[in-house]
Each structure stands twice: as structure tokens, then as C-alpha cells.
Symmetry: C2
Subunit: 224 residues, 2 copies
């Protein structure tokens, strides 16, 4: 029925890179590029060209051999695949430093994300405005989600509160959660959970730095 074949069964690793391609293509389009090669797109997205071609082939790609990809067309196609033809409303739970920063983040609009509401448990924060959004009570969570047809949630609470927030979100019908609190959340299997742990990222960098030190005494020597 649909003209574009619905590309089911895209590998996870590919899905995780589609947003990068989308971002890169938007940049290319903004800089006036109409057509780009896989090599070109690869550097713009920070990956290598073989992987770009493989990834795009999973979408039943629409490149032209000997030429490359039509930047706008490809961007539109990926946006469709990602389901980003209209913005996803997201609720931010926790209006502390991080939650406020996210609520104020200007870059969401261009990436298909719309902050639908910001809620917090702290009565002192309820009623204040962060990033143009009035903070509402966490008790209104269900209303906010149902009324706004929200299906994505961000948890930016202290770790101790994160699990009960997750439970409340799941109870309210949320099926996709992005958790910034450094805790392993327990959610039912039908809920899609992603984790961002800044301290963990730094520790991973630390590990590599630590091992460069004791493993590469030659590194300095190369320059001398």
C-alpha cells in the first residue's frame, strides 16, 4: 500500500547511527550541498564510509552509483524511517540542574524533539519556569502524559528517586525512558530504557588514559 517499502528489521547498530546521519545531512544541506558521497557523509557523521553504505543499504537506500546520495531526499527518507516526521513530545521528570539544562536546550526542535512538560516532586520548584516551561507537580504526571500524548520520558532526578519515578512513568503508559540518574532501573520488558551516565563515560576515558600511560612509553619518543 505504501510507496516506500517499510524497512523492517534494521540492525540496532544501524538504528543508533541514523540520528547521526540525519544530523550530518542537515548540516550538509545547510551548507548548500545537494549531493554527497558515502565518504563525504561518513566524515560529517564521524564514522567510516563502508559502514555508511552498509547502513543505508538496510533502508533500501536510494543512492546513485557513480554520483552519491541526494542530501535532502536521503534526510527525508531517514526522518521517515526514524518516525521523525512530526516531533516527539517528551516529558522531563526532575527540574534540578540537569533537568533545567535539558528543558532549556534549544537544539531539540531541529532534531524532532519537543519538550511537552517538566515536572518535579519538590514543591519549591513547582510553579517556577525553566527554559520557558512551567514546572508542574509530579502528581500531575498521568494527566501530562495522557493529555499531551507523550510516549517519551527523561528521568533527571537524584538516583534515590529514579526507580519510583520510573514505576510511575510505566504506570502512566510510558514505554520509552531515557535515564540520566546513575542507577540501574528495573522496568517491564515492553519498556525501552536507555541510560546516560556521565561519570561512567569519564571513567571509561580514564581507563584508556590510565593504560596509555603505562603502555605507551614509545608515544612520547615518536615525537622526539
Amino acid at each position: 500500500m505504501t510507496i516506500l517499502r517499510s524497512p523492517a528489521g534494521i540492525p540496532d547498530a544501524t538504528v543508533a547511527r541514523l540520528p547521526l546521519y540525519l544530523r550530518a545531512l542537515d548540516e550538509l544541506a545547510a551548507s548548500g550541498t545537494d549531493v554527497c558521497s558515502s565518504e563525504h557523509l561518513a566524515t560529517a557523521a564521524g564514522v567510516n564510509s563502508a559502514i555508511v553504505r552498509k547502513d543505508l543499504s538496510h533502508l533500501g537506500s536510494y543512492g546513485t552509483r557513480g554520483v552519491g546520495y541526494d542530501v535532502r531526499f536521503l534526510a527525508g527518507h531517514i526522518a521517515t524511517v526514524v518516525g521523525q516526521t512530526q516531533p516527539w513530545p517528551v516529558v522531563i521528570v526532575g527540574a534540578g540542574h540537569l533537568g533545567s539544562a535539558l528543558a532549556a536546550y534549544q537544539g531539540f526542535g531541529a532534531r524532532g524533539v519537543k519538550v511537552a512538560a517538566v515536572v518535579d516532586a519538590d514543591p519549591a520548584l513547582v510553579g517556577t519556569v525553566v527554559g520557558g516551561h512551567e514546572v508542574r507537580s509530579i502528581d500531575a504526571l498521568t494527566d501530562v502524559i495522557e493529555y499531551g500524548e507523550v510516549s517519551l520520558a527523561i528521568i533527571s532526578t537524584p538516583p534515590a528517586a529514579a526507580q519510583s519515578v520510573a514505576d510511575a512513568l510505566v504506570a502512566a503508559g510510558i514505554t520509552s525512558i531515557l535515564n540520566f540518574a546513575p542507577t540501574a532501573l528495573q522496568v517491564p520488558p515492553h519498556v525501552d530504557l536507555r541510560q546516560v551516565d556521565v561519570a561512567a563515560e569519564l571513567q571509561i576515558l580514564g581507563y584508556h588514559a590510565h593504560h596509555r600511560r603505562q603502555a605507551d612509553p614509545a608515544e612520547e619518543a615518536v615525537l622526539s
Copy 2:
């Protein structure tokens, strides 16, 4: 010469999980648990037990068959492997909403991260205090890094500024960068770069949500 065998060649996937184990073990220790099984640690870290055992075996693990792992001992051992015996000083470049939130984050200390300095290019921000750190000029970057022996940097600038900041960091001797700006940074091969892209994370969640809708009409039926 060292008593503990230096565990070289740990797989990347394992390294990426070590911080999670560390966090989980600290929580277990705080709740008075002295010994834990791989199953126990797995749920606390949000992974499965087979992977815990495999990961720990790469460290030349020190568990006891039939019993489990000594929580404190294992935590100490992983901390050593990660190089987290003393805190890593980190410089935050960009004191906007996100940079401020990171500077103010209370959880770094317990995870072996110490904010050494916060710098920004905006003269209006220089001199202000965020999270107890006085914002310094980006011109002082080299001084800050050399004086503080900083080897980790966080970029939390607008995307347009990120590449030149990265160049400056590399020039100042930084070899590990955590980039929050949504751009693909170009860095020399000896520099370790990790990327956090919140919008991309949400888009990945969006993709799955989008496909659940059109793929699982049965999901509702299961409950009815």
C-alpha cells in the same frame, strides 16, 4: 614485579561495564552486603549474570566458587583496574546550562571524578561562580590544564564552537575528550573521544516506539 597481574587486553565492551559494576558494588557495600553472587551483582548493575562472570574473568577475577565475590575487595580491584585510585581532574569547557549543571553535579566525587576548572569564551560568564567553581577565561585553558595536570576534558559548548575548542584542548595536551556538543569532532588518532548526544538517544527511542506501534497490534491483546 606487581603482585596483581596487570590485566591487559580487556575487551572494550567489558571496560564500558566496569563503571557500572563499581557503582553497583558501592551501593551493595553501602547497604551492608559483604558478599554477592554474579546474579546479585548483575541485577544491581542492570545486566545478566553470564556477562558479569565473563567480564570479571577478564580481570583475573577473585571470586570464590560456591560463595560469590567479596564486595569491597572486588570494588577495590575494579577501581585499581580503571585507574580510579585517585580522582581524575577534569576541565569543563562551556559554562552554559549544561556545563553549569555538570559543574554543580554532586555525584562526581564518589565516582572518582574531580572538576578541576570551568572555562568559557563568553566574557560575561567569566568570573561568575557555577557549582562552586569560578568560571575562567578560555584563554587560560593551557594554564589550567598544565597546572592542574588535567587529562580529561568535557566539551559543553554550542556545536559551532566545539571543533575549535577540541583543537585547543588537543594543542594543550588533552588526550581524552567527552563531547556533549552535537557535532562530529575531528581529532588526531591518539586522542580518545566519546560522544553524548541526548537528541540522538531520544531519536533512537523514538524509532523503537514508532515501530512498536505499527508492528505490535498483538501487544495490547496479550493483556485483554
